[in-house]
Amino acid sequence: MGLLEGRFEKGGVVITTLEQAINWARQASVWPMTFGLACCAIEMMATGASRYDIDRFGAGAFRATPRQADLMIVAGTVNFKMASRVRRLYNQMPDPKFVIAMGACTSGGGPYYKYGYNVVKGVDLIVPVDVYVAGCPPRPEALLEGLMRVQDKIRAMHDLTKRQPLDYLVPTRSGYVQLPPEVETLQKANEYCRRRKELSTPAKV
């Protein structure tokens, strides 16, 4: 966790800042709320079950009350009748709180965008969203990825040292897409394009 981890040969000593310790504890116990609206909730349940096991990331304790939850996974279509309830549940959660918009419906209306007369076109019209997870419904791996992005956000929180620069970067987990080595820099990318173009040009007879 800390910058000095593993630097001591004999072990037994870990030095860190108080803030990093708090963030580390927070990101390892993100408790989501038991809250599902539609088919995405089935996928969320699968994520919580043994095969994908969201508990590996410390987010397996689905709380039945918003007052004990840190994370709201909005899993499913939000309609206008439900919107005020979603807003109220969000307001009842203690700070710091995070929201994952899971699936196409909560991200922007999804298949109900045009003809869904009673569907909210994105849950971000009701509550602030931290992470959008694409898919209809998303695979459990995608939801886990979204959870890891929330953990990245938590790890970068600086409540105690507000308005001071961060000393390390996010994201620090896997899933961060890196460019392949042949297009790493602009020169290499140009060279790569030129070579591909030459290869694809048919030879003159």
Binding site: F80, K81, Y117, V120, K121, L125
Partner: protein, 176 residues
């Protein structure tokens, strides 16, 4: 019992009060006036030859072409239909009763057309009628608790009407 025989029994009992019959459809049906609906339904349930002890579904259908250019070719006059699907566990047969209604009562937009309720005959009609009221906009006279069942209580309009206008905003949440 086939549809033609059921229709024959009904015509024998009610005579001209049965307005239309169609025995050769996949689901044979009769059309009755809204005022005769309760009598016909009670007969369908209680007659020992018919014994329709189950109401499968109540559906509202809006026959309406909102585009005025296509309206002459639509092939129907604008109207509403309420369709009752019945079946009998004892006799193992099915039947359909339809009621034809104007789209608005007395052709005043906003005034819902009225049908008598059949909750006194089949209690299952309770929620079906609430749903039809909610989405299609048919007022069931005598219903014990006619509230919206799916949409919010303060919703305006009936969404499965063909000329329904989508809401642009609901309690401050934009709809588009």
């Amino acid at each position: 019992m086939g549809g033609a025989e059921i229709i024959a029994i009904l015509v024998e009992k009610f005579g001209p009060r049965i307005q239309q019959t169609k025995p050769d459809a996949i689901d044979p049906y009769v059309v009755v006036d809204a005022g005769d609906l309760v009598d016909v339904c009670r007969f369908l349930r209680d007659d020992p030859r018919l014994q329709f002890d189950m109401l499968n579904c109540i559906t509202g259908v809006d026959y309406c072409e909102p585009d005025p250019a296509k309206a002459p070719k639509a092939g129907f006059e604008p109207h509403l239909e309420v369709v009752y699907h019945l079946s009998s566990f004892v006799k193992r047969h099915r039947f359909v009763v339809k009621v034809l209604l104007p789209r608005w009562k007395d052709n005043v937009p906003g005034q819902l057309p009225e049908v008598p309720t059949v909750t006194s005959i089949w209690p299952a009609a309770n929620w079906h009628e609430r749903e039809t009221y909610d989405l299609v906009g048919v007022y069931f006279v005598g219903h014990p608790d006619l509230r919206r069942i799916l949409l919010a209580e303060d919703w305006e309009g009936h969404p499965l009407r063909k000329d329904y206008v989508f809401p642009l905003e609901y309690h401050g949440i934009r709809g588009r």
